[in-house]
Point group: C2
Chain length 199, copies 2
């Protein structure tokens, strides 16, 4: 019913996260309907990204230059490195404009199920960076999952022989969150990590 070319495009679009077979069809039709505008732009844009985008050999960020714009930005502080799992986490942190240091993308967390052994992640690169760049602080901002916690412990251990303060981001009640709707783990963490109000 659909030409082979269109069917292939639908199958590929359906592989994108958030899309499935039905929305893949809708997306393909939308592209064909807007052939000269959206479809052509998307083709050009994909080629640009495909040709130009690099992974920063220092921190793992995606950019058109290596080292990336953040690693070479003189306004960013060299005194702290924030360790995160993925580029998506870097974007999320950058959106808040609350961190002015450098990043280090781990490429995931330790996981036996996913075959993520320490050598699959950029742990050695992080240790080498800490040794060479001598930051004052390494902030661990990994997921609050069992695998994330395991990885955090592993990193604390790997960095313990270096003169650097290793910190972890706070866990607790999300802003706007109601206690009644929160899971027990979060309430436990929020209570355990309670802080005095500065008077």
């Amino acid at each position: 019913m659909q030409s082979a070319e269109l069917q292939h495009l639908i199958q590929l679009l359906a592989k994108l996260p958030g899309l499935g077979p039905r929305s893949g069809r809708r997306a393909a039709l939308h592209l064909v309907k807007n052939k000269q505008t959206l479809m052509h732009s998307l083709m050009v844009s994909l080629k640009e990204v495909y040709d130009k985008l690099l992974s920063c050999s220092t921190c793992g960020n995606l950019d058109t230059s290596d080292p990336c714009g953040i690693c070479t930005d003189p306004r960013r502080e060299n005194s702290s490195i924030c360790v995160i799992e993925s580029v998506a986490d870097l974007w999320a942190l950058e959106r808040t404009s609350s961190f002015k240091g450098k990043y280090h993308i781990l490429g995931g967390v330790l996981s036996i199920q996913q075959g993520n052994t320490p050598d699959k992640l950029t742990i050695q690169t992080l240790v080498d960076r800490v040794a060479a760049e001598k930051p004052q602080e390494v902030i661990l901002a990994l997921s609050a999952t069992p695998e994330g916690v395991t990885t955090t412990h592993y990193l604390v251990d790997a960095l313990k022989s270096y003169p650097v303060t290793v910190t972890g981001i706070a866990h607790g009640v999300p802003i706007g969150g109601e206690l009644d709707y929160l899971d027990d783990g979060t309430i436990y963490a929020a209570l355990k990590e309670r802080r005095p109000y500065s008077s």
Copy 2:
């Protein structure tokens, strides 16, 4: 934070139906992560569809040939034309394998809001096809919306001087549907269009 190229790709992906800014970011990252497999295939596939796909000048279907595969298929009956709004509707009908005639894609329904006047749709082409191909039946399968019903009435009127039976698809309780959860309009239609059981 993101390179201009990546930001542009995210913006374009976010324009696809079913995606937004957040899922556009996820889709872009997924593409970059699977650069040699998914991203490259998508680039090739988009170019194929962009270069080869045509709109059938007879029925409006999308195919690599004009007239399209359905219009030139000798196994399809010439005796009936099914009038639908879009290519998506054609695909939906073809998935059921329940119609063996030809199609006619209207390109939408009459709508003052969307600026769809009769000359914006392929109504004249349909009338010309009926005059030339002399089908026995024209099946109107438009949306059961006020605009769809208006368009159906308009088409019935436009075709009334031709020796052709104009029919409409049935409205009623969907298969698997429970009366209690159906809207009043559907229940009214189902009751009004009730049929005797053949004994």
